[in-house]
């Protein structure tokens, strides 16, 4: 059964991860010589790394939730102009991704050569104004990008609140502020808490920002420490695995808490009955709030993108433009590198495959879990959401071992990456598609049934067309997520299976920042071009074929 196969896909690598964590004796021996809990006992030495991880994740979560809450409030409760447009634009930071953001902010905020500090020095300042290579810097970058996720979740909560509850309060004489404090906040709080827990779980497992910004200042979190441990010679797999399992355990608990909060409050983050919230007239404050929205998008999207583009055209990055410093050599080099060309191609191909297969697979699984009445659907859902609690790097670690010994030689090929992506993105796809499925009233399918339509006919004529907008959104999400993927790809690539994001990271560490910037720009352009092509093809197909 498809559900069972998907479950195996998820559990197989986890089993290997746990096996590696329990391996004592010769760390190089495979299968493990002996089993024991020594690796976990040993983790005490790395207490500071766990501390770092919690610190960064905590700060980032607070920042992200504040951003999400404020933006959510502004865009759904006030009469700031252009709200609808901004809501769409709030998805952009997610597409820029933490890696791009980290690269850009490294250029902007490095203590020595960062743009801000260059300007500071030029103005006569001493020392540095900001230093991005600190836990606060890492948290800042992570929060900027996760803020848009928090926004989506909190915004949904705000929309699910019945405005008459506030109106009742005001009719009884409570002022605006009192209403907000006594009525709105308590109602919204559980949903916000749920979002906070979710964001915290994601932050625990984040990799790219800590990699780019943390390594230079010897600041490690669990994921980057694991990466270091398996990259050195001799590699320390069991220790790394033990770290991974510990992180997994913590994230698992967090995700469990999140699901408890969500189901207990019956929060409409998935089911869709939306009220139209009452909009407050904030008078002159409108413009300041509008400025706030623009500022956020500016800092999270515009600034990083501009910085990267600017750097990509320079010989040696500096904030002060100099005629002799501009060059196209970075692009020339990047395009000449077979690694970049084939990596870009592979990434686009993989993205297309992951999104297309993913939508079909996850659509089917969603339907299975939320619509069919088969027994065990709940258990399958639980298993399939597992990868949410496992950082991508950790998961890839288990996958590496699991698929290394698999008789079919997919190790080191694009197939392995495809399987890895599908597995790792299961929660993302399931969440998106099930959100749409649950909004479709069951009676729409039942009435088709009563008209005599068989299961297949119903799926084709009723379910699928209604799901289409959701499926398209899920496809897009999966495509972009897989092209941007780092944590799993970095461990699973092979000589003929290179993808672009790890190549960008490799370039950052082994060539210049300018070349890396050029590669990042090329990646973004390639994705945009691919999407443009796909949409024109799709639209033409719809026009010709009709449905």
């Amino acid at each position: 059964m498809v559900g069972g196969a998907a479950a195996v896909l998820v559990l197989y690598p986890i089993a290997y991860l746990i096996q590696a964590a329990l391996s004592v004796g010769d760390p190089q021996a495979r299968p493990p010589e002996a089993y024991g809990l020594d690796n976990f006992a040993d983790l005490g030495r790395y207490a500071h790394i766990f501390g770092n991880t919690l610190l960064v994740a905590g700060v980032a979560t607070v920042l992200a939730v504040v951003v999400g809450f404020v933006m959510g409030w502004i865009l759904s409760r006030t009469n700031v102009p252009g709200r609808a447009a901004f809501e769409q634009l709030m998805a952009l930071p997610y597409y820029v991704t933490p890696l791009m953001g980290a690269l850009a902010w490294a250029l902007i905020g490095s203590a020595g050569s960062g743009f801000v500090n260059q300007l500071w020095h030029a103005l006569g300042g001493r020392g540095h104004l900001i230093d991005i290579n600190t836990p606060w810097g890492i948290a800042w970058v992570m929060a900027l990008f996760e803020g848009s996720v928090a926004f989506v979740m909190i915004g949904a909560v705000m929309k699910s609140m019945d405005p008459s509850l506030e109106e009742a309060s005001q009719v009884l004489g409570a002022g605006r502020v009192r209403t907000m404090l006594r009525i709105t906040l308590p109602l919204v709080l559980p949903g916000v808490l749920g979002a906070a827990v979710f964001v915290f779980a994601e932050m625990l497992g984040s990799f790219s920002a800590a990699l780019v910004l943390g390594l230079p200042s010897r600041f490690y979190v669990v994921t980057t420490a694991m990466y270091q441990l398996v990259s050195q010679y001799p590699p320390r797999f069991p220790t790394a695995a033990a770290m991974g399992v510990s992180l997994f355990a913590v994230m698992f608990v967090m995700v469990w808490i999140y699901r408890r909060i969500v189901s207990a409050g019956n929060y409409a983050t998935i089911t869709g009955k939306a009220f139209r919230p009452r909009v407050m007239d904030v008078g002159g404050l409108r413009w300041s709030l509008l400025g706030l929205c623009v500022a956020y998008l500016g800092v999270a999207v515009v600034l990083p993108v501009l910085t990267i583009v600017y750097a990509s055209f320079q010989r040696l990055t500096t904030v002060f433009p100099r005629a002799d410093n501009f060059t196209l050599v970075n692009y020339a080099t990047a395009l000449s590198l077979d690694a970049v060309r084939s990596a870009l191609w592979n990434s686009l191909l993989l993205g297309f495959a992951t999104a297309s297969l993913g939508v079909v697979l996850m659509g089917f699984l969603s339907w299975l879990i939320y619509r069919s009445r088969l027994p065990g659907a709940g258990a399958i859902e639980y298993v399939l959401m597992f990868p949410q609690a496992v950082p991508r790097l950790v998961f890839a670690f288990g996958m590496m071992w699991a698929w290394l010994v698999f008789p079919i030689p997919i190790y080191g090929t694009l197939w392995l990456l495809l399987i890895a992506y599908l597995t790792v993105f299961l929660p993302l796809g399931l969440r998106t598609i099930s959100g749409v499925i649950l909004q479709i009233d069951r009676s729409l399918e039942e009435s088709a049934q009563m008209c005599g339509a068989s299961w297949g006919h119903r799926l084709r004529t009723v379910t699928m067309p209604l799901l289409k907008p959701g499926l398209v959104a899920a496809w897009l999400l999966l495509f972009i997520a897989s092209v941007r993927e780092l944590g799993a790809s970095i461990l699973l690539m092979g000589p003929k299976a290179k993808v672009i994001t790890p190549a960008i990271v490799e370039s950052w560490f082994s060539t210049s920042s300018e070349l890396t910037a050029a590669m990042a720009v090329l990646q973004t352009l390639a994705v945009a071009a691919a999407l443009a092509v796909l949409f024109t093809v799709a639209r033409r197909a719809v026009q010709h074929g009709g449905e």
Binding site: R30, P216, L316, P495, S507
Partner: protein
């Protein structure tokens, strides 16, 4: 191999190019050559022990190496120009991770690598112990001294040398403070402004070992107080140095310096009078390679004057060639112009590796 030759390799240092070495080297070089299987054929302008027709039939080569992407790109492109019928693909990782990957794959029964190039001798020797290298005595080995080959020869060979001094950013370092000798890197004025490589680097191991022998175990403990930052690759070190993110790099590879100085970076290179730690990279054919003849062809090419010219003259690689008939480097200097410090006792060097990793990780904060 005879007892005599083994001790010659372990006890001989590279600075001792005395008559004895000169006399015995050709002897040693010839002995394995006599045991070489197959005949040597001339292809292009070098000798190879591979069956070129078969190699071209195999049509492909998988290369695992540690150089930067651009460097590997240049290397493989040069090979492809010479042998267009052979496709190339590669994996690039720092030596530690590279070796970990290949051993993991082999332990799981996956043999997909043709040629392996490492920048640290410890994994090379370890690989030899595991029987990982294919014993292929290249006809080109006649141009290499015995001390630059594996023992016994044919497992791996020293494909080139890189050495490192000190480099600093001229705009960040006052002339009075400028370092001149190794002891100057301990100057507290440089605290929080120095960089080196991480423990995964072979070059870093070499520097640690050699300077420890020269200045005692305390040297590096004192260096730890400088709170140095560690990085993966020299491009990163020089990138930051050029931009002024760091003031001084204590493992400044000559090749990296040359590349960045050319880009216009305001950096200075210092060759301390006590000598420059040096290390080589090691290249060889992998046992159970999927394309054995192509692999042998590649290694022969890499060790030949043709291949060595790529390694030595391409600025992005810039390894000094160890061929006895090698020309000067693009900067005009030869290897012999520098006082190079190699570890003298290889077994001791290899045995010191775990100690190095532990100590260096601690110095670097992991």
């Amino acid at each position: 191999m005879s007892e005599h030759s083994r001790s010659a390799v372990t006890r001989r240092g590279f600075l001792r190019t005395g008559a004895l070495a000169a006399a015995t080297a050709p002897l040693l070089a010839r002995a394995p050559f006599a045991a070489a299987q197959g005949r040597a054929t001339k292809v292009l302008d070098f000798q190879t022990g591979a069956d070129v027709a078969r190699a071209e039939q195999e049509g492909e080569i998988v290369y695992y190496g540690h150089d930067g992407e651009a460097g590997i790109g240049v290397l493989l492109d040069s090979f492809k120009k010479d042998f267009p019928k052979i496709k190339t693909s590669y994996v690039r990782l720092q030596t530690g991770a590279l070796y970990a990957k290949i051993t993991a794959e082999r332990s799981a029964g996956r043999f997909g690598v043709d040629v392996l190039q490492l920048s640290d001798i410890s994994p090379a020797i370890d690989f030899q112990k595991k029987g990982g290298w294919e014993v292929h005595v290249s006809p080109e080995l006649s141009a290499y001294r015995a001390e630059h080959q594996s023992s016994p020869a044919g497992h791996y060979t020293w494909g080139g040398v890189s050495f490192a001094g000190i480099a600093y950013n001229r705009s960040k370092v006052k002339p009075a403070e400028a370092p001149k000798a190794w002891k100057d890197i301990l100057n507290p004025a440089f605290k929080d402004g120095v960089t080196a490589k991480l423990a995964a680097s072979g070059m870093q191991h070499a520097q640690w070992y050699v300077l420890r022998k020269l200045y005692g175990n305390d040297f590096w403990q004192q260096f730890a107080r400088q709170r140095p930052k560690g990085f993966d690759a020299r491009a990163q070190l020089f990138d930051r140095l050029s931009k002024g993110d760091d003031r001084m790099c204590v493992l400044a590879e000559y090749a990296g310096y040359t590349l960045f100085a050319e880009k216009g970076a305001d950096i200075e290179f210092v060759a301390p009078p006590d000598g420059l730690p040096a290390t080589a990279f090691f290249i060889g054919v992998v046992n159970r390679a999927p394309h054995p003849e192509a692999a042998k062809l590649f290694v022969d090419w890499a060790l030949s004057k043709r291949g060595q010219a790529v390694y030595q003259n391409q600025k992005i690689l810039l390894y000094g060639s160890l061929r006895t008939d090698a020309g000067p480097m693009p900067t005009g200097k030869r290897l012999s112009d520098f006082k190079l410090l190699f570890p003298t006792d290889w077994n001791d060097y290899v045995a010191s590796h775990p100690v190095f990793v532990k100590e260096w990780n601690a110095i670097m904060g992991l």
